[in-house]
Symmetry: C2
Subunit: 430 residues, 2 copies
Amino acid sequence: VEDSVRVGILGCGNVGSALVTILTRDADVIAGRTGLRLEVGPVAVRSTTRERPSAVDRRLLTHDAGAVVADPSVDVIVEVIGGIEPARTLILTALKAGKPVVTANKELIANVGQELFEAAASAGVDLLFEAAVGGGIPLIRLLRESLAGERIRRVTGIVNGTTNFILTRMTEEQATYSEALAEAQQLGYAERDPTADVEGYDAGAKAAILASIAFGARVVAGDVYREGISAITAPDIAFAARLGYVVKLLAVAEQLDDGDLAVRVHPAMVPVTHPLASVRDSFNAVFIEGESVGELMLYGRGAGGMPTASAVVGDLIDAAYNLRAGGVGRTLNPAPVRLRSIDDLTSAYYLDLEVIDRPGVLAQVAGALGRHAVSIRSMEQDGLPEGGGAARVVFITHAARERDVQACLTELRSLDVVARIGTLLRVLGS
Amino acid sequence: VEDSVRVGILGCGNVGSALVTILTRDADVIAGRTGLRLEVGPVAVRSTTRERPSAVDRRLLTHDAGAVVADPSVDVIVEVIGGIEPARTLILTALKAGKPVVTANKELIANVGQELFEAAASAGVDLLFEAAVGGGIPLIRLLRESLAGERIRRVTGIVNGTTNFILTRMTEEQATYSEALAEAQQLGYAERDPTADVEGYDAGAKAAILASIAFGARVVAGDVYREGISAITAPDIAFAARLGYVVKLLAVAEQLDDGDLAVRVHPAMVPVTHPLASVRDSFNAVFIEGESVGELMLYGRGAGGMPTASAVVGDLIDAAYNLRAGGVGRTLNPAPVRLRSIDDLTSAYYLDLEVIDRPGVLAQVAGALGRHAVSIRSMEQDGLPEGGGAARVVFITHAARERDVQACLTELRSLDVVARIGTLLRVLGS
């Protein structure tokens, strides 16, 4: 027995056209395995004349996205336009009309997810978004279903492929940040304006979604503390390597002992033996720590048309099953939560200082750290290549409070012997 | 609204008592998140007097496993006894009585899974077994649901923690095989009789289940080609490291171009940059290659009471949802498939030979390889520490057919100049 499900698609860029390709190429495989025939229905596009992959039947293209949603022959809607509007309005309309929606739209879920979840719940239809975080990595299902009974303590992800590519090049080829960024741009991994990636905005939106799913908490992109990687230098990377670390941009969502959540994005030094350390190039991974399950990691392609479309297909099959059963999958109803400010979080730190190279300097610097309850785990000193009486001192601290570390930096800045304060990086426990 | 689901548990060893602990400790968390109250019902044990964790209420213990299955107050059965009988009969009885079953029993699924799947399908109830492969790693759900529409090409797993621990110790501490095995036994990672682990039987059963799930194919443990790690030597590990590889015991299930399946377990050289190379100690991981999704890896605790029980809880929540909805999850109906013999598979190889150290020897050896269409990618020669005119020659070949390699070994054995044929290892492509 085979059920036909007609899929209306909003947007036909990278992901949209990969989706049409998969649904066309693998229709028989999917039907054989699931009993569901996923038919490509109308596809809403901005340009009906643009060149598209051969699988895309031009006769299905239309300018009218609203008509795709309203089309009575369309059973399920896939939204791969991106951005907030018109995606938000189209999805709300589809949900109200009782049509399940599958979306790959990270901005939308991270910013107005709550409104959409409520609309889906009150309409009693599915709103699925596996593709919105981690592209082809089936993270949402893992968190929502496999770990539905798990007390999750922390989720730590490498969720931005562009920055991971840049950091990998800096680590493995000793490239500078600018060289690595230029290479990423040349390969199409980074945009001409790379801000959203390198300053952590993309990772921040994903961190908000991860926190919502892992902890059932109402967290939006704007709640996430965020630092990017543009200040990381080749010497930072080299020091990290010498100390047994690699630098990664991490998205972290964790539940603290009192139930508060902390959600943040920042570069960090990761011990080389940690599973996240071996996530190279543009790959993504999410490392989950749970009370019972222990440590779990999912690794894969975080972006790209085909992997992302593959996640959309997984969601489509889910939505189609539920539609056939006349039911709905597990709905998400994130609850308000108290967020802990970064100032009150505790971490070990890497701190890079340029100091005047003369006796007594270290005692002054160490004194400032001590006055702010920042205790030193290890220290390395290097003459600077340009010489001139300056030296580079790198500290790794024991766990210290962010607020104290920041106060300490203010004092260090006021010292005559400190020529420059370089990079401050958090250090992940091993 | 909260639904109560009463869970009858067969077996209360490591996994069973961890399950009772989780269900007791996290009952409110699970109820809050899922609307399901999973109640611990009767627990069938061999000994009602043995010491057990405090969460296990002695009044729930019984010797009568049949009575647990028959108990009308029991909604769902968890089987964590292990072995074929009486687990098989108890599960069949439960399914026929319309009770969903969650099992962590690898032997059972790998040997008589087909009978159980059919019984579950004809009774219209769930038979879930996430915990049977990879302990806490939610691999089955990923393959069956997230990747339901994916054309999977190959699944490559490190699915035995004991052997991975041994190989990690050999790699990182330069331990010999016997030293590493002794340490694993001391830490409780290996049994006193380690055969099932070190000779690949455990991994073989898991490979059969992986193949069934990934390819919907009827594969049992006995179908799986199997080699263990007991012949791996410290010099093999050292050579691998020098050439940029680590040695891992791999379970591989792949679909060949003509649709045939190949399923096997053997040690292999894995490039250090491959994600599987960084899976250390007793951790497990499964690396999936799919047509659309690309590369995907799941990493976590493959064994242990709490991680395995965590997977059982995930399945229990599933079964309970389906029970409440009066339905059943996706059923598995593996189809017969043609299996390709190892003889007809192609791989690059690592071959270690001890030869007489005199001019012309290499030409003879290379000649034998050439006559069997085994072409050499790289070669290294070492004097042996014991000296005495013997040398060690290590070859890495280009891709060659197993049948040809075996014929070549037969010819090499007949050569006067070959003193000993050492380890033959497959080399994973990067």
